[in-house]
């Protein structure tokens, strides 16, 4: 019943293992493109991930975010939710599990 809600926390290197599945990815917002409705997020392993936004960029309110979404391909995600992770997350100390 609850297995459909499982979304493992990943970094960019783990994305290929999760294509088609739900994941959560914590990272730093590098840039937001309102025209294409996409943004680029840098994951903890410094890899950049393209994220297709849900509605528009108004969901993204902080420098660090956690994206919950489905993996479209090895470096693209489709956002389902975006969680504010503040302005000063210790980017290099994050451990993903």
């Amino acid at each position: 019943m609850s297995s459909e809600y499982v979304s493992p926390r990943v970094n960019s290197a783990r994305l290929p293992d999760f294509v088609g599945r739900s994941v959560r990815l914590v990272g730093k917002v590098i840039r937001v493109d309102d025209n294409s409705n996409e943004m680029i997020v840098q994951a903890s392993d410094s890899g950049e991930v393209k994220v297709k936004l849900l509605n528009d960029s108004s969901d993204v309110t902080s420098s660090y975010v956690e994206i919950i979404g489905t993996v479209l391909d090895v470096d693209t995600m489709k956002m389902m939710a975006c969680i504010d992770m503040g302005e000063d997350l210790g980017q290099n100390t994050l451990i993903f599990f």
């Binding site: 297995s3 809600y5 979304s7 959560r24 660090y64 939710a81 210790g90 451990i95």
Partner: protein, 277 residues
């Protein structure tokens, strides 16, 4: 006297703590098969939602178990996906990435304000929830006693590591202290006993006195190894000297040091000693 040294019934008496783990301290085992309350039911364990979903219960009123380990109170860190305030309680849908579970918090009717406002909790943010696992029909939920927002986002990652540490410590025992041989900590734990009581089992004598010089520590351990009735009268200095070896001068010097620091005291006369525990 030395035949008592290997007697498991006396090895940890008076060592400070360890009362629950003591095999003779059977006062906790109530007769008539009534549910036995253990230390775990009063403890607070960090868990993931997946662990709560996987928790088992022998019957509807029994304690919950995670991997055969009894759990009392639990704490999770998860996103409040939705908050649903009702007249008597508020329902929080929690998602920490390992699964989803409901947390119910019963509203204090005397205070007029809404539940989530009181705690400052907003939807789609991480919160920490403390409470106990309950089931109602087929549904499982956390009966929440405390809820609060996660201010520092590092707490999310801390909690993940905290869950791992707690689970592994319960499974394998506490990690060895620096300088302590690996085997002591890796000793098998009986499922169902709390790690907190198991920890003091045997190891505490060394922990408490580990800062002492070897000869003083040996004296303390020797006295602690004696049966309770012998210790109450005190252990004679000659018996100590026989067991520890070395010259009388250094034994009496070490005993004087232990007395000065309050680790031992004299009992029936000046040559009988017991450990202050």
């Amino acid at each position: 006297m030395s035949q008592y040294n290997d007697n498991p019934y006396y090895s940890n008496t008076g060592a400070g703590g360890g009362y629950l783990a003591s095999p003779v301290g059977s006062t906790g085992g109530s007769p008539g098969g009534a549910p036995r309350r253990t230390g775990a039911s009063h403890s607070l364990r960090p868990v993931t939602i997946k662990q709560l979903i996987g928790a088992t219960q022998a019957h509807a009123d029994a304690e919950w178990h995670i991997d055969d380990m009894e759990v009392g109170q639990v704490t999770v860190v998860a996103v409040a996906v939705s908050i649903n305030a009702q007249t008597t309680n508020s329902v929080y849908w929690l998602d920490d990435g390992t699964g989803r579970i409901e947390a119910r918090h019963w509203v204090d009717m005397s205070s007029g304000e809404g539940d989530s406002e009181k705690f400052g909790i907003k939807e789609n943010t991480y919160i920490r929830v403390m409470g106990s696992l309950k089931s109602f029909g087929n549904k499982r939920y956390i009966n929440a006693t405390h809820l609060r927002p996660v201010e520092d986002r590092h707490e999310i990652f801390f909690h993940g590591l905290d869950c791992m540490t707690a689970t592994l410590t319960l499974e394998k025992g506490p990690p060895p202290r620096p300088g302590q041989p690996q085997t002591a900590a890796a000793a098998a734990r009986t499922p169902g006993t709390s790690a907190y009581t198991a920890q003091s089992h045997g190891a505490s004598a060394n922990d408490q006195f580990s800062h002492l010089p070897a000869i003083q520590r040996n004296i303390v351990n020797f006295i602690l190894a004696q049966p309770m009735d012998v210790r109450d009268n005190g252990v004679h200095v000659a018996a100590i000297a026989r067991a520890i070896g070395g010259d009388a001068q250094s034994i009496s010097g070490a005993l004087d040091k232990l007395m000065d620091e309050g680790h031992v005291y004299t009992t029936i006369d000046e040559s009988h000693f017991n450990v202050s525990a």
